[in-house]
């Protein structure tokens, strides 16, 4: 479980996060939703330690992560897997080398053991015979799958996904959603997904935190969200004709 306690974050004069408190639960797909510029990416970057919080704390189970010095964050980071928006695969490495990279850095496994692990995680994301391909040779959906495979290679306890569906067609986006959800339940991870894709919200939103103007505006799940009378949330979620029809 990840507990966010009263965190605030400013950039210069602009206060981006205002006293946000929430819990991301273990074994669930926890979604952070909100309009562009609402602060959801900053919240996620605070959680993974790319930004330091100004006030408050972020606890990974019993450990206060936000209070640690950079060198002490290393151990907790080894338990995290992060899927970046664009995949963030290393261009000069093949798929196999990308996934093997954290294993090379942090384990003493033999090459055969690492290769087995690479093939194992690639099979989890339904991607086979892609070991020798370079990122430039992959489609958008394949890049996301490889990035997920790399993120789970070290058996993380916490999985963070930043806009996993951005730039994907609806069918591939659904496949990626299902994949993340399946892996979360299979490996009992605490998964935090940053999204504004309403299909994801309705499909895999077991816990949803709606951020508006830097504040936590609403919390619930994908069933509650259809019934809520929260004005700002309704304006955001049911902004399109399709979602309005679903609600009706």
């Amino acid at each position: 479980m990840i507990e966010v306690k009263d965190i605030s974050k400013s950039f210069g004069e602009q206060k981006v996060l205002k006293n946000i408190s929430t819990k991301f639960e273990k074994g669930k797909t926890n979604l952070i939703i909100g309009q562009s510029g609402s602060g959801k990416t900053v919240l996620m970057k605070c959680c993974i330690g790319l930004f330091d919080v100004d006030e408050g704390e972020i606890n990974f189970d019993t450990r206060c992560f936000s209070g640690l010095k950079e060198k002490d964050k290393k151990e907790t980071r080894k338990e995290m897997g992060v899927l970046f928006q664009g995949g963030a695969l290393f261009d000069s490495f093949t798929v196999e080398e990308n996934i093997m990279f954290p294993l090379n850095m942090f384990t003493k496994q033999t090459f055969e053991e690492k290769l087995n692990r690479v093939n194992d995680v690639l099979s989890h994301v339904n991607l086979v015979n892609a070991n020798s391909k370079f990122p430039a040779e992959l489609s958008g959906g394949m890049i996301k799958r490889v990035a997920i495979a790399r993120a789970i290679a070290m058996n993380p306890m916490y999985l963070f996904c930043d806009e996993p569906n951005s730039g994907l067609d609806p069918k591939t986006a659904e496949v990626i959603d299902e994949l993340i959800s399946e892996l979360t339940h299979k490996f009992d991870m605490t998964t935090v997904i940053n999204t504004h894709d309403m299909n994801s919200v309705l499909q895999i939103g077991q816990k949803i935190a709606f951020i508006n103007k830097g504040e936590l505006w609403w919390e619930g799940d994908n069933k509650d969200i259809l019934k809520t009378d929260n004005k700002e949330l309704n304006e955001f979620v049911f902004a399109t004709e399709l979602t309005r029809r679903i609600k009706r």
């Binding site: 790319l50 080894k78 970046f84 963030a88 290393f90 261009d91 850095m105 963070f160």
Partner: protein
């Protein structure tokens, strides 16, 4: 104030860079890749420019020493001194600042804007150490080799030029190369090269690492890396010459 802040950021980045690598084996692998990318791949341009520069200097010296009282072996001597003291260490470093510096800045800058550096950081890896240290090490170890290569090829170019033009006999030219030989001159050239190599790799690494934005900013960072490296090379050339030769 902007300059001071940037200098402070550069020093902070260098402190991060010069930490012990997370894994020695991975560092050595990266070092070999950078030896190839920054050093071996530069041999062609170094040979081409040195060969022609050596030839041009020899021809210009022969043209200027048009006095029967001045011995002709001075053509070889001045070509040697110019190649060793200035052309090979400084001019080659300026050329390498353009070739290697822009390559380092754009590679690391692209990694920054595509979140690859963030990915390294959240994996628990020190990105500055992983990306910049092997490049600085490779440049500081391989650029002196390139400069020795440049001196040799430049002198061969000079000899070739005097043979082709017939302005000085090869014997006079070779006598000039042998005249007043001081090993310290080579040492001076290598010291300068190591300092310039550090400037090129570290400044370019810094410019790439601190990019914010997209592809336009990566291009700007690449240009800034070359300009800043070139200016610093010239400034340090003056400082090192004052320190070592006077």
């Amino acid at each position: 104030m902007g300059f001071l802040r940037e200098a402070g950021d550069y020093v902070s980045l260098m402190i991060e860079t010069f930490k012990r690598p997370d894994k020695g084996r991975v560092f050595r692998r990266q070092l070999i890749i950078d030896f190839h990318a920054l050093g071996v791949d530069s041999i062609g341009i170094v040979v081409f420019i040195s060969l022609f520069t050596g030839g041009i200097i020899a021809m210009q010296m022969a043209y200027n020493i048009d006095n029967p009282l001045v011995p002709l072996y001075l053509v070889g001597y001045t070509t040697k001194q110019m190649m060793i003291l200035e052309i090979s260490p400084t001019i080659m470093s300026l050329i390498l600042a353009g070739k290697v510096g822009s390559s380092i800045a754009s590679e690391i800058g692209t990694m920054r804007v595509t979140e690859q550096i963030d990915a390294l950081k959240v994996m628990g890896i020190n990105p500055a150490n992983y990306l910049i240290l092997p490049k600085i090490t490779a440049a500081m170890l391989f650029f002196p080799v390139l400069v020795v290569f440049s001196i040799s090829v430049g002198l061969a170019g000079g000899l070739l030029a005097v043979i082709i033009t017939g302005s000085v006999t090869p014997t006079d030219f070779i006598d000039g190369l042998r005249a007043w030989w001081q090993p310290f001159d080579i040492f001076y050239a290598l010291i300068k090269t190591v300092v310039f190599a550090f400037i090129i790799a570290s400044v370019s690494g810094y410019k790439g690492y601190t990019v914010q934005g997209g592809s336009v900013e990566v291009g700007r960072a690449s240009t800034k890396a070359v300009v800043a490296s070139s200016i610093l090379i010239i400034i340090f050339d003056l400082i090192l010459t004052q320190m070592l030769l006077t």
